[in-house]
Amino acid sequence: MDIVCLRKLKVNEKAVISAVKAEGELGRRIRAMGLVPNTEIKVIGEAPLKDPVALRLKGFTLTLRNSEADYIFVEQGKS
């Protein structure tokens, strides 16, 4: 199982969050939205210019920019 940056995931790929390296405001926001370790996620789409991306987690849809996805690390191919 590889640990990769969330940005690396392709559309329709599933993964489990292993770590969130963001601190401060961004970190708080990421966690408040439910992006915490052990959460299953699936990339369900990207905006026309490939950024932001849309994720499915905990039964809802969340969009975030690639620059924000860089702080989130996931375990690929596990779900």
């Binding site: 405001e25 939205m33 026309p48 932001p52 849309a54 905990k58 809802f60 969009t63 975030l64």
Partner: protein, 726 residues
Amino acid sequence: MKQNYEFALAGNPNAGKTTMFNTLTGGRQRVGNYPGVTVEKREGSMRFGSDDLNIVDLPGTYSLTAYTQEELVSRTYLVDSKPGCVINIVDATNLERNLYLTVQLLELGSPLVVALNMMDEVRKQGRHINTSLLSHHLRAPAIETVARTGEGKDDMITAAMKMSCDRQGALNPLVITYGPDLDPVITQIADMIEDLKLCDGRFPSRWLAIKYLEGDDQILDIVTKAGEKSEAIKKLAEKTAKHCKDTLGIYPESLIADYRYGFIASILKDGVMADDSALDRVILSDRIDALLTNRFFGPVIMLMVLYAMFAITFKLGAAPMGWLEALFGWLGDTVASIMPDGDLESLVVSGVIGGVGGVLGFVPLIIIMFMMVTFLEDSGYMARMAYMMDRVLRIFGLHGSSVMPLIIAGGIPGGCAVPGVMASRILRSPKEKLATLLVVPFMNCGAKVPVFILICGAFFGEKAALAMFGATITSWIFALLAARFLRSTLIRGDATPFLMELPPYRLPTFKGLIIHTWERAWQYIKKAGTVILGLSVIIWAGMTYPGLDEAQKAGFETKKSEIQTKISSVSDNDEKAGLEAKLEEISAEESMKTLRVSYAGMLGQALEPISKLAGFDWRVNIALIGGFAAKEVIVSSLGTAYSMGNVDAEHSEGLGKRLASDPGWNVAVALALMIFVMLYSPCFVTVVAIAKEASRKWAAFSMVFNTTVAFVFSVAVYNIGMWLFV
């Protein structure tokens, strides 16, 4: 016995909190602001049995940290105002994430009733939530509700009343475990905080301890104020942070969030929720999104939606706007015929009726526009627009959600900056919101268009359509570049995190649509009656006084009466028409001379040495000064200043010819004027709107900044134009 209760509604955005608020209070709502911030405070009242209830709708938040204004005002309200009960509206289809706020509310110790909203959709999905088990774990009553239909609202209110009576404001915090690394430290810090007596009954000490470890600014402040004694707490917290970082590789803050979600997961796994396999609503939304946010069709459909919205607004708005215009026209005529001629008549007709009428004329437009904006917002499509546009707008320091205000303000020519500025409140990130509302006035609103048509028609002839298109593109370029400039100077700072929920598509409720639309229209109408009335009187006075001296007045009167006598004595129709035209000419000349000697005229002439740098003479200056009242005034003031009499903005060909043949005018002046009109100070209705959405300081800034930008660029255009074409 009759009692008064105060309840607060708290919950995530899109959880149906506002729908519940509307269901409970209907039209009995008041909208204000929390002190010192631009976050809306909604309050409403309702009667339940024999009791009067006051309901406060807190801003939608995902968390209770102190880092957004919304979260801070919610928290401050809960701590300081101590509502009898907090009703936490939870989207039951999205329980796990929604409970994150619930747990934080419970840790704060607030008396809480959980409303499991959207239960109809949960049932439709064939899922099951064990409400009593959830209630048991949370140690708070949980009630199933459907805000749209009002199902369960009576049970919810009854539970809240009971909670309010039982608890009488006492704090009863929920205690959850934060693991072996943090629990002992939390207890230790909580004890130290007790010793320092920092809670003063407002917070549970454990909550303060947790927030301190989370690095919450407001709480750090409170503790630091205790002086030297707080040093021990600080040391302990730093030691703990280092320990977590060294052994676990994360900060206490992250650890706390993980345990909170862990607590929620443990509750849900304990049989509260049957495993969700089919997520109907989400699946349907995904199918719609496959088309609406498709790489190719998404932007195409978005453009079509925006254009349709525009076309509908102006098609539907045209008729009622015409009626209002006719009504105020009639009112003006009637008052003019009743009142004796003179300054008072002029004040009432031109200053009061003309000024207020001009503003109220926009009401139908604002109502229709906001109805559609509210529809797009409540249906969930607005979030998709932001999602699609974000990449482009981010380059300029804006946010995906900035697209709506820009379009409304005139991204498609013919908008209006006032609803554009008001629409900027959909932006939740303060810096991007400020930058958006400051550049919105650069767009080509409906009142600038007649000026462009006049100038294009006069100087660019057949290329007028191209020139209009050029004006639209130019205004976008200026707005975006100005945003980039502001975001790298005065409103500097990193982009606010985008992280945004894409709520499932929903059909908005009619009630909500009407309530929110009317609210915005009413705010606008109130302004017309107060600030704008005052300013329009001032501008009227500036363009009327001190007036011609007696000798000049008498001169015009003599000339006019001479011709009047002639008209009544001639019988030939052609000759009569000629004389009447002559009479109008004299009136036009009189208006021009009056304007020239008025305060506005004096100002226009005083500014001429400067404005000449951009090729504008005193007549243009007057028109531009008048344009501050409303950009519509520019064409009619030019008409007066060039002795053309009353020029209708829609039929300005005569004035166009006059300008084209005037020696003071050429292509360079025309281009410079177009740039100036496009960019200079927003009209005062917009300035008032900016003051309301941002602050007076920023409203003043927008007048100075925009006028400076306009002047610099029109001087440049004039000089380049002179060099190229003349």
